[in-house]
């Protein structure tokens, strides 16, 4: 299959682990020198270190020139696939294009060289940017105030569930209200965040329409309910039409409503979580607001709240007195800190530039085209034999659609995983697979607004070919991928106690090369 005519072919360097490269004595960077006077005045610096605290063991890092280091990581980058390489339709991940101007701005020394504890008079520019971004995000989400501090979506969720805790604590109900309700279609972070904040997660099933089952929700809420965490549109890409009723049920029992912002993109400028009754909203800056994922981070997960909850937000808050921006730590009800300093500022700056580049009209266009693209893909993929669209297939989706490859698997043995791997051979990233858990052999597809029709068509065509191939020549798919830097990896081996090697040091130890 390798080298199939006209097919994608990823770079395949035989690039050793960096520890195996270089030569003793080579150097990749020269540090500023220590001036003679400094040396003279201080004397032998090592003598200053108490003897038992000096490093004696050799630091076993590779020794390389800058040339070799650059080449090594350049080759590694060529064996990686990013949004700039092509379609990256991971559902619920909103892998959209990351505008270049934002990167340029975030790399300016006027932000890079700023220390967080500088006198406020020397950081007015960045405080103004953060303050304005907060205002814009409240407007977009329909919340009252925004806290920019969380470093990621899950960090925002953790903050959100801590806010629930603080709210119920102030009402003297913290002990009693120890349950957070999550739908069975929820992201895994929701129950995990609730558990971290000390709650028990209670799962409610989805109904035949793929939405929260109202009767089940009514049965689940009680005086123990601290809140409900909901994604809307949900992970099937379906808008929870009964949101008014859901909010009513939760609020009437004294619980709070939490909005998981992973799927905010399709409703930008079209609807706002705050208007729907959500009390706490997190935003994934690295999804909706176009900042790159960096292979896993850094992102940013600001949290918006209703007026009633603002007093619990972490310190400091950025305040503006009409003339100057200030960091205010005097918040007696604040939950405290969930991290150091003020948030992933360099990431937030990119979101600021993004919103400025689009404006209100542009953000609405982002939402509409993301929905157009998702429904276009859905329409095309529905025609492919072997795939089905669970939950009312006539209903429009929002930003994503979830197909099931169950028929294909039953008829040919080709699973969602196999389809995913085969897609890589076409130079396309795979969708999210096996999620949400309520769909068998799930393929969760989110194209976002930033890919052109031609690229979407290429994806549809690849899916069609793969499914056809499954009926005619399944072997090729079962062995996929063929065109990536490496072929299928042994993931079991990576986690097996006998073979597990989580560092070079551990690998050497396991292989009898003790240090």
């Amino acid at each position: 299959m390798e080298g199939e005519n006209g097919m994608f072919k990823q770079a395949k360097w035989n690039e050793p682990l960096i520890f195996k490269l270089g030569r003793k004595g080579r150097k990749g960077h020269i540090l500023p020198k220590v001036e003679d006077e400094v040396k003279r005045a201080v004397g032998d610096v090592n003598a200053l270190i108490p003897e038992n605290m000096r490093r004696i063991s050799q630091l076993r890092l590779p020794e390389l020139s800058e040339v070799e280091v650059t080449r090594h990581f350049m080759r590694l980058s060529q064996m990686n696939y990013g949004v700039d390489s092509g379609l990256y339709p991971l559902g619920s991940c909103t892998m959209k294009y990351n505008p270049k101007i934002n990167e340029f701005l975030a790399n300016l020394p006027t932000i890079g060289m700023l220390h967080p504890y500088q006198n406020e008079s020397t950081v007015q520019g960045i405080l103004e940017i953060l303050y304005r971004l907060e205002r814009w995000l409240t407007e977009i989400t329909g919340t009252y105030e925004i806290c920019l501090q969380p470093a990621a979506g899950a960090h925002g969720e953790f903050l959100g569930t801590l806010l629930m805790r603080a709210y119920h604590k102030l009402n003297g109900e913290c002990k009693k209200r120890n349950e957070v309700i999550v739908p069975d279609s929820a992201h895994g972070t929701n129950p995990a965040s609730a558990a971290m904040a000390g709650f028990n997660a209670v799962v409610v099933p989805s109904d035949e329409n793929g939405c929260v089952d109202l009767e089940a929700l009514k049965a689940a809420v009680s005086e123990r309910t601290a809140g409900l965490m909901l994604t809307n549109p949900n992970t099937l890409g379906i808008f929870e039409e009964n949101i008014e009723e859901i909010a009513k049920i939760v609020h009437e029992t004294g619980g709070l409503l939490y909005y998981d912002g992973a799927n905010l993109n399709p409703i930008l400028g079209k609807a706002r979580p705050g208007d729907m009754g959500f009390d706490i909203v997190h935003i994934n800056i690295h999804k909706t607001f176009s900042t790159p994922h960096g292979g896993g981070g850094p992102g940013a997960g600001p949290v918006g709240v209703s007026e009633e909850l603002t007093k619990f937000l972490p310190v400091p808050r950025i305040v503006f007195d009409g003339e100057r921006y200030r960091l205010d730590y005097d918040r007696p009800y604040s939950i405290g800190k969930i991290r150091s300093f003020y948030g992933n500022v360099a990431v937030l700056l990119k979101a600021y530039a993004y919103i400025l580049s689009l404006g209100g009209e542009g953000l609405k266009e982002v939402a509409e085209v993301s929905v157009l693209n998702a429904n276009y893909l859905m329409k095309k993929l529905k025609e492919i034999e072997g795939l089905t669209l669970p939950y009312i297939s006539e209903k429009p989706r929002k930003h994503e659609c979830v197909f099931s490859a169950k028929p294909l698997k039953n008829e040919t043995g080709v699973s969602a995983l196999n389809i995913a791997k085969r897609l890589l051979d076409y130079g396309l990233h795979a969708p999210t697979i096996y999620f949400p858990l309520i769909v068998d052999e799930a393929l969760m597809i989110e194209p976002t607004e930033t890919f052109e029709k031609e690229e979407l068509d290429r994806f549809v065509e690849a899916m069609r070919k793969i499914c056809e191939e499954a009926y005619t020549n399944p072997e090729a798919i079962l062995q996929a991928p063929h065109n990536t830097s490496v072929s299928r990896l042994d993931e079991v081996k990576a986690s097996h106690p006998r073979t597990m090697a989580l560092s070079w040091r551990m690998y050497l130890k396991k292989n009898g090369q003790n240090l």
């Binding site: 630091l59 064996m79 800190k337």
Partner: protein, 469 residues
């Protein structure tokens, strides 16, 4: 739509071209995109336009943001002697270049390892180098920052020991202590502080012995400490902790580990720390890079939070490769029973750290440690000559940061700060409120980027402010 180009398409949205939209809608059998929104209840459909500034062209965005940022004064405009968990270091150009490679920058978490091999290998190399530096065998591929890593480490220790008390030093960054509290209170953990020797700042072993018990899940120390001195009683502390069946957690600034003994060599069970200092800009305090490492012990490894990259081979065994390991600990599989909810982390900052460590190598990291220690101690040397100034407050060896006390002068730390700033120098962090018992004290930080001239200017200006008035 209206957009800065005045045409009917936006550069980031290729399908915003009206004829493409029409073409797609025709194929879908709809007349308007709003049909796709018909299921949003009427009352929740936003009728107005979001109240945001009008869209700007790229040039206007650039000018606007640059002009706002130019209001800032940075470490390039004036010498800044601030540290306290975010440190001014030089970031080599090669580091910046590599982390801007768009295949790395614009990729997602490597869930499909075959097409994400480059990122996986880079992260594995980061983990491996962190292990070399800390003397541990296992490291994850990052936490949000030092503070949240500490919060997670304490929870992990509690899960492992089924105990609920955490002992931390009295000398700790207040934000780290606050984060620890917020992370651990919901899990039912309580935190107690260990007193310090007022002369040396070192942990009071007596107080440690009086507080440690069979309820103690973990004892946490920092080396170098928050106030910059090197804690030397590590073997005694370690022995005490392990005799009580508790875990030993150590917090580090990795730039010290080229010259200081790695925590693995004094039997730390978990190491946390802040690796922003390895090739990442300060960026007004974020993103940061939380270190999380532990011993090669399956019990510990299975309780670790966060993503871990493992080495493996292809299924056919023909080639070495990498993939995410031990995912069954994580939220997307274990949900409410996961070891943590963390998923997105600081991966690209970890790549920067890996490139940085590769560039410096063992010699470079040793030199970095020495250079920092030389310069910080040169500053101590000069400042301590000034009448009324006492530095450092504690009689211990100091690495990069040190306390400066102004009790012998009639100025407050705030006043000194204001006067220095007027002279174009930014002093250290005022810690008078954090440690009232230390009097009028500030925490200064000196790194390899501070020249002899910067330090001499600081000393001369300070002397002028305090004496020459």
């Amino acid at each position: 739509m209206v957009n800065p180009l005045g045409k009917h398409t936006h550069p980031y949205i290729p399908n915003s071209l009206p004829e493409i939209k029409r073409e797609m809608m025709r194929e879908m059998g709809i007349k308007s995109i709003n049909e796709l929104y018909a299921d949003i209840p009427e009352k929740y459909r936003l009728k107005k336009l979001l109240n945001l500034p009008d869209a700007l062209s790229e040039f206007e965005v650039k000018t606007h943001v640059e002009s706002l940022l130019s209001k800032n004064k940075t470490c390039s405009d004036m010498p800044v002697f601030l540290g306290a968990g975010c440190w001014p270091h030089y970031v080599p150009a090669a580091v910046k270049e590599i982390v801007q490679r768009s295949e790395l920058l614009t990729s997602y978490t490597p869930y499909q390892p075959e097409i994400s091999h480059g990122m996986l290998q880079a992260l594995f190399e980061y983990q491996s180098m962190i292990c070399e530096l800390t003397g541990m065998e296992v490291a994850n591929c990052s936490m949000y920052d030092w503070a949240s890593a500490l919060g997670e480490a304490a929870r992990m220790a509690s899960r492992l020991t089924r105990r609920s008390e955490i002992l931390i030093p009295k000398i700790i960054h207040p934000e780290r202590a606050a984060t620890l509290h917020v992370y651990d209170e919901p899990a039912g953990l309580s935190v107690k502080q260990i007193a310090y020797n007022s002369e040396t700042g070192q942990i009071s072993l007596e107080d440690l012995r009086s507080k440690i018990s069979d309820k103690t899940a973990a004892v946490y120390i920092e080396n170098p400490s928050y106030l910059g001195f090197i804690e030397t009683q590590v073997y005694e502390i370690s022995k005490e902790i392990h005799e009580h069946g508790a875990l030993f957690i150590v917090g580090v600034d990795p730039t010290s580990l080229g010259i200081l003994k790695p925590p693995g060599e004094y039997d730390a069970d978990i190491v946390v720390g802040e690796a922003q200092s390895l090739g990442n800009s300060m960026n007004f305090g974020g993103p940061l890079l939380g270190i999380f490492a532990c011993r090669d012990d399956l019990k510990l490894i299975r309780q670790m939070p966060g993503r871990i990259i493992g080495m493996t081979t292809t299924l056919d065994g023909s080639r070495q490769g990498f993939c995410m390991a031990l995912q069954t600990r994580e939220q997307h599989i274990r949900r409410e029973k996961a070891t943590s909810n963390i998923c997105s982390n600081e991966a690209l900052c970890a790549v920067a750290a890996a490139v940085y460590m590769s560039l410096l190598g063992p010699e470079g990291l040793r030199e970095l440690g020495e250079t920092i220690m030389y310069k910080a101690n040169y500053a101590i040397h000069l400042l301590s000559k000034i009448n009324g100034v006492k530095t450092p407050v504690f009689k211990s060896a100091h690495f990069k940061e040190f306390t400066v006390n102004f009790d012998g002068t009639d100025l407050s730390v705030k006043k000194v700060h204001e006067k220095l700033l007027q002279c174009g120098i930014h002093d250290g962090k005022d810690v008078s409120k954090e440690f009232p018992e230390l009097g009028k004290t500030a925490l200064y930080c000196v790194t390899e980027i501070h020249s002899e001239e910067d330090i001499e200017r600081l000393a001369a200006t300070l002397e002028e402010i305090l004496i020459g008035r």
